[in-house]
């Protein structure tokens, strides 16, 4: 992956322009070229790049003058916090709504839910953010529209959700981010429910005299979780990607806002560093999902007879 990025950066433009501040004068440029080894053959450059990368040196930001990696890592907790909280909202609302829509597909409420999910899917994230701000902040004045609130530390985790002020700040952007995921989760839960509820083992559970709530809670839920978890896990990546938009709209101090500003300001080192981090996150995510899948589905974990 790093090879692709490196080749891409080198191929597409003059790396001198890429990695050196366009405002620097000739002397500075030459110094940086020597520093960065750009006067050496490409293969050697790549080698140095990797060596540096492993030591955590991915170049310095033009705008901030700080090492790019450090800047990104500084901002990562804020983004993670936002993304995880959004995921929480999406799951805790999405699954019950989806299961309900699956159990009673023709009721008025279900139809409303499904119509709402099309809407949620169509509305661009940034526009929802704007509407939310306009309504809850400007118009009603209930919730703040920008920035992150106070943080507190519990169990070694520093997060803004532990404070009331923090919660009020995170709520709108998290809800915004969650909306898109919500419609996905609802559709998945509904489809899964409609399929599972027709299975023989559900009928058998009824024949055993189990109450309908117990059947839904134990038998149904565990079976639909498998595909939902897989998709959600993989889509967590897209949550992080869309956080770029939400963070910009709500001025949330995370990685996303950093990268947007960086692209705007042509701050290449940050772009490169961000890319590498993202790839790392994606690979880790895939791993986690695989593990989760085998935990949830015993057929994968334990070899069977037939």
């Amino acid at each position: 992956m790093s090879l692709i990025v490196f080749v891409g950066v080198n191929l597409v433009g003059d790396p001198v322009d890429m990695l050196i501040n366009p405002e620097a004068d000739q002397l500075e440029i030459e110094r940086v070229i020597r520093d960065l080894g750009l006067d050496r053959p490409v293969a050697e450059q790549y080698w140095y790049f990797m060596v540096n990368a492993f030591q955590g040196d991915l170049g310095r930001s033009f705008v901030f003058g700080e090492p790019a990696l450090k800047l990104i890592i500084q901002r990562m907790p804020a983004t993670m916090e936002l993304a995880l909280f959004s995921l929480l909202i999406a799951i805790s609302f999405g699954i019950p709504l989806g299961v309900y829509a699956g159990l009673k597909p023709h009721s008025k409420i279900s139809r409303t839910i499904m119509a709402g999910s099309i809407l949620g899917f169509s509305m661009p994230t940034f526009w929802v953010g704007i509407i939310l701000i306009m309504f809850f902040s400007v118009h009603l004045g209930w919730l703040p529209s920008t920035g992150r609130g106070d943080v507190a530390t519990y169990f070694g985790i520093t997060s803004s959700i532990f404070t009331l002020d923090g919660l009020s700040h995170i709520f709108l952007p998290a809800f915004n981010l969650a909306l898109f995921k919500l419609s996905s989760v609802i559709r998945l839960a509904r489809a899964g429910t409609r399929e599972v509820i027709l299975q023989d083992y559900i009928k058998f559970a009824r024949a055993k005299g189990l109450s309908e709530t117990k059947i839904i809670r134990v038998h149904l839920l565990k079976n639909i979780m498998i595909p939902i978890v897989t998709v959600i896990g993989l889509e967590f990546g897209s949550l992080i990607a869309f956080s770029t938009v939400t963070e910009t709209v709500f001025a949330w101090p995370g990685m996303g806002k950093l990268i947007i500003d960086a692209i705007y300001n042509l701050d290449r080192p940050i772009v490169v560093a961000y890319l590498m981090i993202i790839v790392l996150i994606f690979v880790t995510l895939n791993l986690i999902v695989d593990i989760l899948y085998s935990v949830l589905d015993p057929r994968v974990r334990i070899k069977g007879v037939s």
Binding site: D200, K203, L210, N223
Partner: protein, 330 residues
């Protein structure tokens, strides 16, 4: 407690209809049968005859768009058809249990056997402790002949073979010592060798525990082996009902005769296999008169105009046919 009200199950003129967009499907159209306590009764019929729906009707598990539209299902005097879903739930898995056809799909693949057994116990008696429930589950597995029950309890369904899974289903059915077990084609999906074992197990169990058993199947040979009484069903109605020995030795209804005749073992080598001509009529378009008319070799005018009533015979059967010999009638 072993009940003493006899018969424990008495179905009177049960009607279960399906209201589909294309029309009304009379899956069960006037079925009456009785089961005494501890008795094994076979309900035989081909696919589409309504036999499974009869079983589901008793359990109150008829799926939409079907519903019970008439008749009574008297279980120990209580009409099950009139009960609310919550009341019916108390009976299911408790006093009346059901075993399904396909053991692969009746057990939830992501839950352990123990979970699925213990929940059956706890749903009906929440005062039982987890430890006791576990012990009862273990005993039930032992009862159906599953070795090393402790290991088996922790396992998942896909780790069992088909025959073992069916035994587990039987064990689950027996957990709460029901008065009646309804078995819907329990051995159809199993290998022939396993079939024999399971049939034998069930027979032994029911005799030991004095549990009544309604064995629903399309295979006459199976029930001939274990049932005390046999009911033959066709197109939603019972066409012949009586003692096993009588029916097998001398079937009276043309359909029953055809069923027996088409069992391959009966023929000598070289003889062409007997069949019943024609096909089951569409359940939405039953002909006027006897439903068997276009496949019957005894068909006469009255058969095409009137549906035959049940006629009692000398040896204690009930047959629905216009053409029973006068000498056989009671």
């Amino acid at each position: 407690m072993r009940c003493t009200v006899d018969p424990i199950l008495q179905i009177k003129d049960l009607q279960t209809h399906f209201f589909t967009k294309a029309g009304v499907l009379k899956a069960v159209d006037g079925v009456s049968l009785e089961i005494k306590s501890g008795e094994i009764v076979g309900l035989v019929g081909e696919s589409g005859s309504g036999k499974s729906i009869t079983g589901f009707s008793i359990m109150g598990l008829v799926d939409a768009p079907g519903q019970i539209v008439g008749g009574q299902i008297l279980f120990k005097g209580q009409d099950l058809a009139k009960l609310s879903p919550a009341e019916m739930q108390a009976y299911r898995g408790n006093r009346i249990a059901m075993i399904f056809q396909d053991p692969m799909m009746t057990l939830n693949p992501v839950l352990r056997i123990e979970t699925q057994m213990v929940e059956t116990i706890l749903s009906h008696d929440s005062s039982v402790s987890k430890v006791d429930a576990h012990a009862r589950a273990r005993d039930a597995l032992g009862l159906v002949g599953i070795s090393s029950p402790d290991e088996r309890l922790r396992a998942y369904p896909h780790q069992f073979s088909g025959g073992m899974r069916q035994r587990v289903s039987i064990a689950i059915a027996m957990l709460n010592r029901p008065d009646l077990i309804i078995a819907d084609e329990p051995t159809t999906a199993l290998d022939v060798t396993i079939q024999g074992q399971v049939i034998h197990e069930m027979q032994r169990l029911c005799q030991e525990t004095k549990t009544a058993l309604l064995w629903i199947t399309h295979d006459l040979a199976v029930v001939a082996g274990i049932a005390e009484r046999i009911c033959v069903m066709y197109a939603g109605r019972i066409v012949e009902k009586g003692a096993n020995a009588n029916i097998i030795a001398a079937p009276m209804h043309p359909y029953t005769k055809g069923l027996l005749g088409s069992v391959p073992g009966q023929n000598r080598r070289g003889q062409p296999l007997q069949q019943i001509e024609g096909m089951v009529p569409s359940m939405m378009n039953l002909p006027k008169g006897c439903a068997f008319q276009n496949r019957c070799n005894l068909v006469s005018d009255i058969c095409t105009s009137t549906n035959p009533d049940a006629t009692s015979t000398k040896d204690g059967r009930l047959v629905r046919c216009h053409n029973i010999a006068a000498g056989d009638r009671a």
